[in-house]
């Protein structure tokens, strides 16, 4: 099967590491954890922001795929599909 392409959009201080928008190619069947690992290999400072010392997802990141907050809810097992938009945010709220 052909590789899939996902669009990564980064905000706040994630943007300084990943750029505003980037396309990432992955093998079919890869999960959001695979994407995070791939990006962490390319950007060591990204790993520090995304994973805690035990390798768990940091509380300092929200991951939204196609409108749904998935990072902390499905243990990073969500399988990515071709054309998915993956957003990285800081967990803030408005005022």
């Amino acid at each position: 099967m052909n590789d899939i392409t996902v669009i990564v959009r980064a905000f706040a201080d994630f943007r300084a590491i990943l750029g505003a928008q980037t396309e990432v190619m992955l093998a079919p069947g890869r999960t959001i954890r695979d994407l995070l690992e791939l990006l962490s290999k390319e950007h060591s400072s990204f790993r520090e922001k995304v994973f805690d010392s035990d390798g768990r997802l940091s509380e300092g990141i929200d991951i939204i795929i196609n409108g749904r907050n998935v990072g902390h809810t499905q243990n990073l097992t969500v399988e990515l599909q071709d054309g998915d938009q993956v957003f990285f945010f800081r967990p803030l709220s408005g005022g």
Partner: protein
């Protein structure tokens, strides 16, 4: 010993009262709920003589604890007909607390307009004639020449005209009245009491029962706050960081809540705002404090192309309601409209929602910024259209026959569509305050915000959490840092007052506050119908998330029993 200052605008008296035992261990919003239940007949006319306007300090006000001097303004709301506490930053409460005043209670039926001056010498009524009709920025500039070290709490022309969306404005550390207790029309209540301005001149320390313990705990608290990733993110980008996040979640109000994503979200995002502020330089600042000693600094100063200040701050809710909700994708326009609203002393959320409803009715087209400026001018002039818009989204909808009105209990929703962030929909439905995001914000929670089955519990947890910050006077943005270390807050309270509160106090106080507020509304005539979102949200699908607000009535009613 802290005291109440009771002001009778009919008899022009102002007396200090001791604080009764039942009010001692509550502050801010929780104190307001108890005072209103005890002193205001819930069925009274909000703009009549029987209502009260209350300025309440939080329990940690004036102590030098970072982010702990938010002000609570309270009264029966002319917008919702129910209880209202409207919270703001600024410097007023810090100075009030330093005078040993726990709350100012304003009552009675006035004859003439006055300026109220509160100092260590007492409280005096000064003639307000020369200030009537003044907009808030010029007003505060004039007042600070006369009272250079004062904190100013005031109303603009909107409050004088008793517009239902009028707010109460407070000066920040720069002496600018850009901090508003905006929601619920409490500026109209202040106008009904014919108090144009409250000048507060307080200095000196507040007493500490155990100064050593207090200072030691404050140090640990401050370090936690300074080091937290959430504080850094607020400092770097402010609340505007929510534009892209809520847009990604499909919940950014667009064209009167008909869509949840805005095709110009990039142009009104925090990233665009920060980029502009930095490039324009001059007076612009990406971080700014609204109150002394704040180590978060989520506020900002947004400049024009020449580097001159347009407005401070420019916040997410304002960008959402006056920007995407009106189809406007230009931060310069949004900043100018926000300034005009502050200058008039009016709620940007309510006005943005009302104009959105008017645009759906065809009064103007979405994206027409010139029309927005015209409408604001009409509000200023007091024309029929201006008064309709200034009466809020619900009344605007009724006047123009629009059913898609983003409001609950008469108050407009903030910039989160409840079909995409359903926990906030539950908060909108169940809060005694009406559609108020600050009553129980769930958007930050690491959950699936579209799952209807978890939202009532999530909202209740958030609502209880908010009572902690609203009672103590803390800013909600501290919670990312200290939410898991409330023991520090408890230690601060115990060291400040010599109390022996236990951790269970937070839960007990929270539930009691929510029940007090619910009780007031119940006595004011609220019933189950008031705790529902309209069919515009329960039956009209939000295209971007392909969902309606579908949290069950049973879940909502169960929450209201405050289990």
């Amino acid at each position: 010993m802290d005291k109440f200052l009771r002001v009778d605008v009919g008899h022009l008296t102002a007396v200090h009262e001791p604080v009764a035992e039942k009010y001692r261990k509550v502050g801010g919003r929780s104190l307001i709920a108890k005072l209103l239940l005890d002193e205001v007949k819930p069925t009274c006319e909000p703009l009549g003589k029987h209502n009260r306007l209350i300025l309440a300090t939080g329990l940690l006000a004036g102590t030098g604890v970072s982010c702990a001097s938010r002000i609570s303004i309270g009264g029966k709301s002319p917008l919702t007909g129910g209880i209202k506490e409207s919270n703001s930053g600024g410097i007023s409460v810090d100075q009030l607390a330093r005078l040993g005043i726990k709350a100012v209670i304003i009552e009675g039926a006035p004859q003439d307009w006055h300026l109220l001056r509160i100092t260590s010498e007492g409280c005096s009524f000064l003639p307000a004639g020369e200030y009537l009709g003044m907009e808030t920025y010029a007003l505060c500039e004039a007042l600070l020449k006369r009272f250079p070290k004062a904190a100013i709490t005031c109303i603009g022309p909107a409050g004088e005209k008793q517009y239902l969306s009028a707010g109460v404005c407070h000066t920040d550390i720069d002496g600018k009245p850009g901090r508003l207790s905006a929601r619920g029309g409490l500026g109209a209540v202040m106008g009904a009491k014919k108090i144009k301005v409250i000048v507060i001149e307080g200095k000196g320390p507040v007493p500490l029962a155990d100064a050593e313990k207090f200072k030691e705990t404050r140090k640990a608290y401050t370090k936690l706050l300074m080091d937290a990733p959430s504080s850094k993110a607020y400092r770097d980008f402010g609340t505007a960081a929510m534009v892209q996040k809520v847009n990604a979640m499909g919940g950014l109000p667009t064209n009167n809540f008909s869509h949840g994503r805005f095709d110009r979200a990039d142009d009104i995002s925090a990233e665009a705002m920060v980029d502009r502020i930095q490039k324009r330089d001059g007076e612009g600042r990406t971080t700014h404090q609204c109150m002394p000693g704040c180590v978060i600094g989520c506020s900002n100063v947004y400049p024009d192309i020449h580097g001159k200040t347009i407005v401070s701050p420019l916040e997410y809710e304002t960008i959402g309601l006056l920007g995407s909700n009106l189809g406007i994708g230009d931060l310069d326009v949004i900043a100018k409209v926000a300034y005009l609203c502050n200058d008039m002393g009016i709620d940007t959320i309510e006005v943005g929602a009302a104009i959105g409803v008017a645009m759906e009715a065809g009064i103007a087209r979405f994206g027409d910024s010139e029309a927005v400026f015209r409408i604001l001018e009409e509000m200023k002039q007091g024309t029929v259209l201006g008064r309709v818009i200034a009466s809020g989204a619900m009344i605007t909808g009724k006047v123009f026959g629009v059913l898609n009105v983003p409001a609950v209990k008469g108050q407009a929703m903030a910039a989160y569509d409840p079909r995409a962030i359903k926990g906030l929909g539950v908060t909108y439905a169940t809060s005694a305050m009406g559609a108020d995001h600050t009553a129980g914000h769930t958007a930050r929670a690491p959950v699936d915000h579209l799952d209807p089955n978890i939202q009532a519990a999530l909202s209740l947890k958030a609502q209880k959490s908010m009572t902690i910050v609203d009672c103590t006077g803390l800013c909600v943005f501290t919670m990312g840092a200290i939410g898991a270390r409330l023991d520090l807050v408890l230690d601060l309270l115990n060291a400040r007052y010599g109390w022996d509160l236990d951790m269970g106090w937070f839960e007990r106080m929270g539930i009691e506050t929510l029940k007090d507020e619910y009780r007031f509304n119940e006595l004011a005539g609220f019933n189950r119908a008031h705790h529902r979102l309209s069919e515009a949200f329960t039956e009209r699908e939000l295209p971007e998330v392909k969902s309606v607000f579908d949290v069950s009535d049973e879940d909502i009613d169960k929450l209201l029993r405050y289990p």
